[in-house]
C-alpha cells in the first residue's frame, strides 16, 4: 500500500530530462506530469508541422511553425499539476549541453528520431553516469531500453542495424528505383540550397566503374583525380546555379536534357540488359509551354503519377519558391521518408564495445599512403564512429593531426596519413571533448601485395574491433600506452557563442539531425562503387566483432 505514495514522493523530487518532443516525447511528457514528476526539462530543435498533429497530441493546428519543446511545455502545464518545466528550443548536440548539463539530472529519457543524436546522448550519459532510458518507434514497432553504465549494455554496445547505402554511381548515372531518385533529389537539394557536400554530387559520374573495363589506373591516381573532379563539380553545380540566378528553366535544361545527353554518350552503361536508357526532355517540354499543374488538392495530388509536363511545372515552381527562400527547411516536393526499425536488445555489457569499454580501441585497416587526414576525420571518426568534434593526436609524439578548433589543422586535410609518418601499427589518440569520449585507433596498413590483407575492391578502410587479435599481431605496440602528451599547447574550445537557437559555430552539428519528420530517419551513405557497378549492398565500412 505504501508503494504508490513512495513512488509519488520519489517522482516529485526527481529531475528528469526528456530529449525530443515529438511522438514519443509528447507521450512521455504527459505520463511524467500525470505520474507526479515535477522537475522536468525537455529539449527539441524542431518546429511543429501539420503532419505531426495526428499523434503529437500536445500540439494543435494553431501551433504549426512554433517550437515543439515550448508548446509541449505550455500544453502539459494546462493539466494543472504545478510542474516546473524548462523547455529548450535547441539542439542537444550543442556544446552547452555537455557532461555538466547531463549531470544535473537523475534520469534522462531519449525520445529522438536519429542515431547520431542517440549516440551523442548515450556517451554523455555514460560520462555523467546518469541512467538513460532509450526508446524509438517506427510504424507498428517500438522498443524501450534501460542503459546504466557498468550494469547494462550501452546504446552502442551492440552493432546497430546497418544503414542502407547506395553506390554513388548508381545515383548519378543509372538510377533504376524510386529510392535512387529520392536520394538524387536530396543531393541536388543540398547541392543547390544546402550545405555543399562533395560526396553528394549529382552530375554524371565519369569515374563510374562500369565505364572502364579494367582497373587501369592505380588507386592513388584514381582517387586523386576523382577528388579533384568532385571538387570542381561541386563548385560548378553551386556556382553555376548562383551565376544563373537559379533560373528554373536553365536548371531543368541542365539536369534533364544536357546531363542526360552526356550520360547517353556513355554508351556502355546502356548496353546492360534490362536497363532502360533515359530520355532527355525535348525543347518543347523545356520551354514551359506544355506545363500542366497536377491536381491541386486532395489525396490524389501526392499519390497519382505525374506526367512529364506536370513534373516540369512542379519543378519550376519549387525552384522558384526555393530560390526565394534559400533557407534550411524548405520542403521540396516529392519527399519521401523511409522508416526503419531501431532494434536494441538488453544484453550483458559488451567488453569490446568501442564506447563504454574501459579502454576503447579499434583497428583501422587502410592504406596510409592514400587515406587522407580529412577522410579520417570525416568518414571514419564522424560518419562511422559518430564523433562530432574530434581531436586526433599521434601518440607518443605530441603531434596534433586533427584539431576541433576551426582553422588549426585544415591544411592537413588533403594529406595522406603517411605524410605524417603514420604507418603500420601507428597509434592515434582520438577524443571528442564534448562527448568525453576517448578512442585509440591502431593503424593496420593493408599490404596490397598480400591477397589476405588486401582490402576489398572499392573499400578504402575497415574498422576492426577485436582486441585480442590486435594485440596478438601488433609487433611494435608499446607494453603500456604512453600517457597522452600534455595538452597545455592546445586551446580548449571556449564557451559556445549563442546566436539564436542554433549557435553559428555549432550549426553543422545540428544539421546531423536532418529531417523535419520525427519518424526514425534513413541515413543515406554514399557507398563506394563496386567493380561491376551493380547496386551493391556491401557497406564501405565493416565493423567486425
Amino acid at each position: 500500500a505504501g508503494n504508490a505514495s513512495l513512488a509519488r514522493e520519489v517522482a516529485s523530487g526527481s529531475r528528469v530530462l526528456v530529449v525530443g518532443a515529438g511522438g514519443i516525447g509528447c507521450e512521455l511528457l504527459k505520463n511524467l506530469v500525470v505520474s507526479g514528476f515535477r522537475r522536468i526539462s525537455i529539449i527539441d530543435l524542431d518546429t511543429i508541422d501539420v503532419s505531426n498533429l495526428n499523434r503529437q497530441f500536445l500540439f494543435r493546428k494553431e501551433h504549426v511553425g512554433q517550437s515543439k519543446a515550448l508548446v509541449a511545455k505550455q500544453s502539459v502545464l494546462k493539466y494543472g499539476r504545478d510542474a516546473d518545466i524548462t523547455a529548450y528550443h535547441d539542439s542537444v548536440l550543442e556544446e552547452k549541453y555537455g557532461v555538466d548539463f547531463f549531470s544535473g539530472f537523475d534520469i534522462v529519457l531519449i525520445a529522438l528520431d536519429n542515431r547520431a543524436a542517440r549516440n551523442h546522448v548515450n556517451r554523455l550519459c555514460l560520462a555523467a553516469n546518469v541512467p538513460l532510458v532509450e526508446s524509438g518507434s517506427a510504424g507498428y514497432l517500438g522498443q524501450v531500453t534501460v542503459i546504466r553504465k557498468g550494469v547494462t549494455a550501452c546504446y552502442e554496445c551492440k552493432e546497430q542495424q546497418k544503414q542502407k547505402s547506395y553506390p554513388a554511381c548508381t545515383i548519378r548515372n543509372t538510377p533504376s528505383e524510386p529510392i535512387h531518385c529520392v536520394v538524387w533529389a536530396k543531393y541536388l537539394f543540398s547541392q543547390l540550397f544546402g550545405e555543399a557536400d562533395p560526396d553528394q554530387d549529382v552530375a554524371p559520374d565519369t569515374e563510374d566503374p562500369e565505364l572502364s573495363s579494367s582497373s587501369s589506373t592505380t588507386p592513388a591516381v584514381a582517387n586523386g583525380s576523382q577528388a579533384n573532379e568532385q571538387q570542381s563539380q561541386k563548385q560548378t553545380t553551386r556556382s553555376w546555379a548562383e551565376a544563373t540566378g537559379y533560373d528554373p528553366s536553365r536548371l531543368l535544361k541542365k539536369l534533364f536534357a544536357d546531363d542526360i545527353r552526356y550520360l547517353l554518350t556513355m554508351s556502355v552503361l546502356w548496353q546492360r540488359p534490362g536497363r532502360r536508357a533515359p530520355t532527355p526532355l525535348t525543347d518543347e517540354q523545356l520551354d514551359g509551354s506544355g506545363d500542366a499543374a497536377p491536381q491541386s488538392d486532395g489525396y490524389q495530388r501526392d499519390h497519382a503519377v505525374w506526367s512529364a509536363a506536370q513534373c516540369c511545372h512542379v519543378f519550376r515552381s519549387a525552384v522558384d519558391q526555393l530560390r526565394r527562400r534559400y533557407a534550411e527547411r524548405s520542403s521540396a516536393d516529392d519527399y519521401l521518408v523511409f522508416d526503419k526499425d531501431d532494434q536494441a536488445a538488453m544484453d550483458f555489457p559488451n567488453p569490446k564495445c568501442y564506447v563504454c569499454a574501459p579502454q576503447p580501441q579499434v583497428t583501422l585497416r587502410c592504406d596510409p599512403s592514400i587515406l587522407t587526414v580529412g577522410a579520417l576525420r570525416d568518414r571514419v571518426l564522424k560518419a562511422e564512429l559518430a564523433m562530432v568534434a574530434p581531436d586526433v593526436e599521434i601518440e607518443g609524439r605530441g603531434v596534433i593531426l586533427v584539431s576541433s578548433e576551426a582553422g588549426e589543422t585544415e591544411s592537413n586535410d588533403p594529406q595522406p596519413l603517411a605524410r605524417f609518418g603514420i604507418g603500420n601499427h601507428a597509434r592515434l589518440r582520438c577524443d571528442d571533448f564534448l562527448q568525453r569520449y576517448n578512442l585509440l585507433i591502431i593503424i593496420a596498413a593493408a599490404d596490397p601485395a598480400d591477397a589476405e590483407q588486401r582490402l576489398p575492391d572499392g573499400v578504402d578502410f575497415q574498422i576492426v574491433g577485436d582486441l585480442q587479435s590486435v594485440q596478438a599481431t601488433a609487433e611494435a605496440a608499446p607494453a603500456a600506452a604512453a600517457p597522452p602528451p600534455a595538452t597545455s599547447g592546445r586551446k580548449r574550445r571556449s564557451e559556445a557563442v549563442e546566436s539564436g537557437p542554433l549557435g553559428s559555430g555549432e550549426a553543422k552539428k545540428a544539421r546531423l539531425l536532418d529531417e523535419a519528420d520525427d519518424d526514425d530517419e534513413l541515413e543515406i551513405v554514399a557507398a563506394p562503387k563496386s567493380v561491376d557497378g551493380a547496386s551493391s549492398q556491401e557497406p564501405d565500412i565493416v565493423l567486425l566483432d
Binding site: 500500500a1 508503494n3 504508490a4 513512488a7 507521450e27 504527459k30 505520463n31 506530469v33 500525470v34 505520474s35 501539420v50 503532419s51 498533429l53 495526428n54 499523434r55 497530441f57 494543435r60 502539459v76 494546462k78 493539466y79 494543472g80 510504424g139 507498428y140 542495424q161 546497418k162 542502407k164 528505383e177 529510392i179 534490362g274 488538392d297 486532395g298 489525396y299 490524389q300 495530388r301 501526392d302 499519390h303 526503419k340 519528420d517 519518424d519 549492398q537
Partner: protein, 377 residues
C-alpha cells in the same frame, strides 16, 4: 432503420485537410483503412482514466464519432490519474463523460464527440442499430456488465449491406465488397500495475499484406536454396500484395468458462500471473455484487483464489500474495497509457479491417513489463 443518413452521406474520398493531417498514418495502414476509420462510430461504456487514453488515440486516428456513456460523478482520484478531464470542472456537478468532452474535441475537431446519459443495462439491440455503432468498448466494467454487453453486441445484425468504404448502398467505389456489419465488442481494464484487453469480433474479415521477396535478377536456378547466401534483412526491396483473411472469435461467456488446459495453453507456469489475477478479480466481482477489489481485500482474495484454483485444477502457487497485492492499487498513468495504447490499436485494426487484431485476450504484466496474448474460450 439501420441505413442512417450518416452512412449514406459519407464521401468516398478524403479531403485535402484530412490527407495532410493523416498522411503519416495513411502511409502505414493505407487509404482504404483510413476511409473505414472515418466512417466508424464507437460507443464507450465507462469513462474512467483508461477511457481517456483509448479515446485520445481513437480520436487522433480520425474515427467518425465517439460516444461516452458514464454518469458517475468526476472524482479527485480520476483527475489525479488522467489528463483528459477538464480540471476546471473538478468542483462542478459533472459526469466523467461530460468532463472529458472538451479535451477530446480539441484533439481532433473533425471527430464528433458526445456524452450519452444512462446505464449500460438500458442499452438495447435496437438502440445500437439505430445509432449505427460499429463497436462497443466496455471499460472497467464489472463482469456481469461485460457478459450482458457481449451478448447484446452479438444480437445486433444490420439489415442493410455496406460497401468496403463503409458508406451506404450508394456505392461510388470500384471495390464494393459487400459485407454484413456486426457490432464489435471490446473490454478493457487496468488493475494495479496490470491490465487486460479482450476482443470479440465474431467472424472478422480483414485485409493483410503478404510479403514476397522478388527473385534476384539472373539468379542461377541450379543454386541450392539451402546453401545459397541469404540476403541481409532489409537488403532487398520487399514487395507485398494485399490478401483477404478471416478469423473467428469466441464470445465473452466462453472465455469466462475457460478451461485452463495445459495441452491447449502450453505450460501454465509460463503464462503471466496477471492473467490468473484478471480472472480472479472477475470471480471477486461475481461474489461481491460487482464491487471492485481493493487493497483491503487481500485476505478475501487469497481465500477466493484457493477455491478458484481447486475448481479449475490449477496449482495454487501460480499466484502469490505479492502479485495479488500488485493488482489492487489504482492504476498508474504509464500502465493506463500502455493498455490504452494497445486497446486503441486493436480497435483501429478491427474497425478498419486491416491487419489481424488479437485473438482474443491480451494481458499486460506491469511487474515483468511485458504483454502477451492468449486465445481463450
Amino acid at each position: 432503420s439501420a441505413m442512417t443518413s450518416s452512412a449514406v452521406e459519407a464521401p468516398t474520398d478524403i479531403t485535402a485537410q484530412e490527407a495532410e493531417l493523416y498522411d503519416r498514418q495513411i502511409r502505414l495502414w493505407g487509404l482504404d483503412a483510413q476511409k473505414r476509420l472515418r466512417a466508424s462510430r464507437i460507443l464507450m461504456v465507462g469513462a474512467p482514466p483508461l477511457t481517456g487514453e483509448i479515446a485520445k488515440n481513437l480520436v487522433l486516428a480520425g474515427i467518425r464519432s465517439l460516444t461516452l456513456m458514464d454518469d458517475s460523478p468526476l472524482s479527485a482520484d480520476d483527475i489525479d490519474s488522467s489528463f483528459i478531464y477538464d480540471p476546471s470542472l473538478a468542483t462542478a456537478a459533472t459526469t466523467r463523460a461530460e468532463a472529458a468532452l472538451s479535451a477530446l474535441h480539441s484533439l481532433n475537431p473533425m471527430v464528433e464527440v458526445s456524452a450519452k446519459s444512462g446505464q449500460p443495462e438500458q442499452l438495447t439491440a435496437d438502440l445500437l442499430a439505430n445509432e449505427d455503432y460499429d463497436a462497443v468498448l466496455a471499460i472497467s466494467q464489472p463482469v456481469e456488465v461485460l457478459q450482458s454487453l457481449g451478448r447484446l453486441c452479438r444480437s445486433v445484425t444490420y439489415d442493410g449491406e455496406v460497401n468496403s468504404n463503409g458508406a451506404g448502398n450508394n456505392s461510388n467505389s470500384d471495390s464494393s465488397a459487400k459485407q454484413r456489419r456486426q457490432v464489435q465488442f471490446f473490454a478493457a481494464d487496468c488493475f494495479g500495475c496490470h491490465g487486460y484487453v479482450f476482443l470479440d469480433l465474431q467472424r472478422h474479415e480483414f485485409a493483410t499484406e503478404l510479403a514476397e521477396v522478388p527473385p534476384k535478377a539472373g539468379q542461377d536456378s541450379s543454386v541450392d536454396p539451402k546453401t545459397a547466401a541469404v540476403p541481409a534483412a532489409g537488403s532487398q526491396p520487399v514487395e507485398t500484395h494485399l490478401i483477404k483473411r478471416s478469423a473467428d472469435y469466441a464470445d465473452f461467456e466462453s472465455v469466462l468458462r475457460t478451461r485452463w488446459d495445459p495441452a491447449k495453453l502450453g505450460s501454465l507456469r509460463r503464462l503471466s500471473p496477471a492473467l490468473y489475477l484478471a480472472f480472479l478479480l472477475f470471480e471477486f466481482q461475481r461474489a461481491n455484487n460487482g464491487a471492485r477489489a481493493g487493497p483491503n481485500d487481500v485476505d478475501a482474495l487469497k481465500t477466493l483464489w484457493r477455491a478458484f484454483a481447486e475448481s479449475q485444477q490449477l496449482p495454487a502457487n501460480l499466484l502469490d500474495e505479492a502479485v495479488l497485492s500488485s493488482g489492487l492499487q489504482p492504476p498508474s498513468c504509464p500502465v493506463l497509457a500502455i493498455v490504452g495504447g494497445v486497446a486503441a490499436q486493436e480497435v483501429i485494426k478491427a474497425v478498419s479491417h486491416k491487419d489481424d487484431p488479437f485473438n482474443n485476450f491480451f494481458v499486460f504484466d506491469g511487474i515483468q513489463s511485458c504483454g502477451s496474448v492468449q486465445t481463450l474460450g
